[in-house]
Structure formats: structure tokens, C-alpha cells
């Protein structure tokens, strides 16, 4: 068991998510950075889909009531055991009675804390992930609070000091480049607006979260005039309600693009300029507020190629530990 002494800002139990219920409005959830989620588990000898803790911007403080192996991946959030520094992306032992805490965030946004045996909260609809908006899964359907006692499964024994080489830890460019496929509603904006959308440097807004990442600072989009169809609102960014894919980029009022992420809402009435490709979704989860980013257009072929490259990268990570 692990006792939560301090919860951090928003620390939740996440695994690789809960596919299959988006049609009834329950999103995938799971770690925003899936590669980091898998890597943390690999380092401590867990199945890649075991439940870990996702800590945003600030680490929790955890007391261990049994010996365990731990690994922290994703953001550069340096861990400490009883105050002594440990490496990220590397397995380290925590003894019964010791306290795991963290330094200030150095880089990235979300750290993944895997504990050997995995966080053993009940499986809900096939996953241990927390969907806080629906109070579903994870630890009581919510982010952690001080005093929570997290059940931990029984782990395999692995060595301390297992590490993922630095060149296999993905880092964001500056500006971060988010590849996207322009979408069904692209025709709603003018050609000039479309050009501006890709030229402009956007910045992550402070209100970005697991549901959606909002961006600010680019020029407002200009719409092609129309008579609103029945069921669409009068605002030019409104459409007749439609499905929202993961990664879809809606731009309410044409001003601030929002990329829907793992806790996405499944539908609504805003037009979407396109969809961020699956290969770049992990990267979004590591963007701090105010980070500059730009959107890069790719076609479907490009998106599939990027997905293959991601898969190859994952194989390399696995191979580095075997």
C-alpha cells in the first residue's frame, strides 16, 4: 500500500485507457503521454498497461508501507527517496517506511510514476484509468487527496538501475510542432485564415487540461459567409452537432483552438479545422502553459507513416530493456 501524504496539483491513477465507450460519451482516458506510461511500467517489470500515477506539474508525496521498485518517466520531475535524489527514466528501490517526493518540475508537464505491481484500484469498464469529469474509475473517480491509501499489486522482482537511454526519451521541439490532418470543416474558413493558422505561433493557455488543450495568440480565423443550417447556432464557428474525434481541433468563435485529448467530450456544435495525428498526442500532454507551438499540415498517408514510426520507436524502447 502507498499512503498519500501530499497529493500534488492533480495526480490521478491512469493506465492505457478504456476504449470502446466513446459512442456513449465515455472517453478513452488513460495516460496523456502513453509512451511514458508504458516505459514507466516496463522499467519496474509491470505489464505496459498496468495502472500508474500521472502527476501534473507538481509531484505528490507518497509513503510506502512495503518495499517496491519505482520509476518516474515523462516530464523531468526529479524524484527523491527520503530526500535523496534519484534519476528519472530509471528504476529505483523504495523501502518500507520511506517517502517518495519530488523536486520542482524542470521540463515537460506530466510525470508517470510506476510502482512494481501496479496501482491495484478496481477495474471499471475494462480499465483502472480515472475519468474525473464522470467520477469514473481510478481512485474513487477523482484525483488523489492527502490521506488516500492506494492498493498496490504484487510485482515481479526487477533490478534497480534499469534505464531507458536518453535518445529514446522523446522531447518537444521549440516551438512544439503538432502535425494535423485538415478536416471536414476546413472549407468553413477562408484561404487566408487557413494560411495564418499554420503560420502563426500559438501558446498553450493556462486552462489546458486532460479534456482539451487550449492555444492562444494566433490571428483569429476568418469564416466563409453562410446562412446557418437548421440546428447550427448563429456564430460562424457553430455547426449542426457532430462527433468530436480525439485530437480534433475546435476553434470556438474562431479565436482559440482547443485540441481534445484523452478525456475528450464526444460531440458538440463547434466546427473543427482538423485533427492532431495520434503520433503527436503524447507530445501535447507534455506541454506546459505558455509553451509555443505550431500546427503542421500532413495528409493521411503522412499520419499513418508517423504512426508506424511511433510503433518502431516503442519497439526500440522495449528492446533497450530486454
Amino acid at each position: 500500500m502507498v499512503k498519500v501524504l501530499k497529493p500534488g496539483l492533480s495526480t490521478t491513477v491512469q493506465d492505457l485507457g478504456r476504449p470502446g465507450y466513446y459512442n456513449i460519451g465515455i472517453p478513452l482516458s488513460g495516460g496523456m503521454d502513453r509512451l511514458a506510461t508504458r516505459a514507466a511500467n516496463m522499467l519496474v517489470g509491470n505489464d505496459e498497461g498496468a495502472a500508474v500515477l500521472e502527476a501534473v506539474f507538481m509531484g505528490p508525496e507518497l509513503e510506502f508501507t512495503a518495499d517496491a521498485m519505482v520509476a518516474v518517466t515523462g516530464a523531468e520531475l526529479p524524484p527523491k527517496v527520503d530526500g535523496a535524489a534519484r534519476e528519472t527514466w530509471t528504476s529505483f528501490a523504495v523501502k518500507k517506511g520511506q517517502v517518495l517526493s519530488f523536486e520542482f518540475l524542470k521540463k515537460g508537464a506530466r510525470a508517470y510514476i510506476a510502482i512494481s505491481g501496479g496501482i491495484d484500484v478496481p477495474v471499471v469498464l475494462g480499465s483502472r484509468s480515472t475519468y474525473t469529469l464522470g467520477a469514473l474509475g481510478g481512485f474513487k473517480g477523482r484525483k488523489l487527496e492527502a490521506g488516500d491509501e492506494l492498493p498496490v499489486g504484487s510485482g515481479k522482482s526487477v533490478k534497480e538501475g534499469r534505464s531507458i537511454p536518453a535518445n529514446l526519451r522523446r522531447v518537444n521541439g521549440n516551438p512544439a510542432e503538432l502535425r494535423m490532418v485538415p478536416g471536414l470543416y476546413w472549407h468553413r474558413i477562408t484561404e487566408t485564415a487557413g494560411k495564418h493558422f499554420f503560420e502563426d505561433i500559438w501558446k498553450v493557455a493556462p486552462e489546458a487540461d486532460r479534456i482539451g488543450y487550449r492555444f492562444k495568440g494566433g490571428r483569429p480565423l476568418e469564416f466563409v459567409p453562410r446562412t446557418p443550417p437548421f440546428g447550427a447556432g448563429s456564430d460562424p464557428s457553430n455547426i449542426v452537432d457532430a462527433c468530436y474525434p480525439y485530437g480534433s481541433i475546435q476553434v470556438p468563435g474562431g479565436t482559440e483552438p482547443i485540441v481534445l485529448h484523452r478525456d475528450a467530450v464526444s460531440g458538440g456544435g463547434y466546427f473543427m479545422v482538423g485533427t492532431v495525428i495520434s503520433a503527436d498526442m503524447d507530445l501535447i500532454g507534455q506541454l506546459q502553459p505558455h509553451t509555443p507551438a505550431r500546427f503542421v499540415s500532413v495528409d493521411l498517408e503522412g499520419a499513418l507513416k508517423a504512426r508506424e514510426e511511433r510503433e518502431a520507436h516503442l519497439h526500440k524502447v522495449r528492446a533497450s530493456l530486454s
Binding site: K106, P206, E207, P289
Partner: protein, 78 residues
């Protein structure tokens, strides 16, 4: 030896509890451990920044409403 109070979070730094309220602390004010010196807004929540050392605020190193990164110095306390 002056100590820098570092931001525990990335976000927007505010020196006042609300736009129409006075600043929590001004330069030259005494602070005790645990005194709130500002707020960081991130992910739709406002988080208090508390002094970790007692002393006097020599100067603020970040402005009101300035975007800050985690670990960035906010104030110097001596």
C-alpha cells in the same frame, strides 16, 4: 543571505487575491513561513504560493500577471 522563493508550478503569477484587492505582500514587508505571497493560476485553479523562509521581501522577481515556469524565482527574501 537572501533566498529566492521559487514558483512551484508553471502558470500565471498573481500578487493579489482578486483584481480589486490589495497585494498580499509588498517589497519591504516582513513574511513568516507559510505566509501567502501570491497565486499561480493553472488548469483553471488558483494555487497559493507560500513563503518557505521567514524574513523581509527584498524584491519581487516576477510581475503581477506574468507567465512563469516551474522553478522560476518569484521573490527574494532576506
Amino acid at each position: 543571505m537572501p533566498k529566492e522563493l521559487l514558483s512551484p508550478l508553471p502558470g500565471t503569477f498573481y500578487r493579489r487575491p482578486a483584481p480589486d484587492k490589495p497585494a498580499y505582500k509588498n517589497e519591504g514587508d516582513e513574511v513568516a513561513i507559510g505566509d501567502v505571497i501570491g497565486l499561480i493560476e493553472v488548469m483553471k485553479s488558483f494555487n497559493e504560493v507560500k513563503a518557505e523562509t521567514a524574513g523581509k521581501i527584498v524584491k519581487f522577481l516576477a510581475d503581477n500577471e506574468e507567465p512563469v515556469m516551474a522553478g522560476q524565482p518569484l521573490a527574494e527574501i532576506a
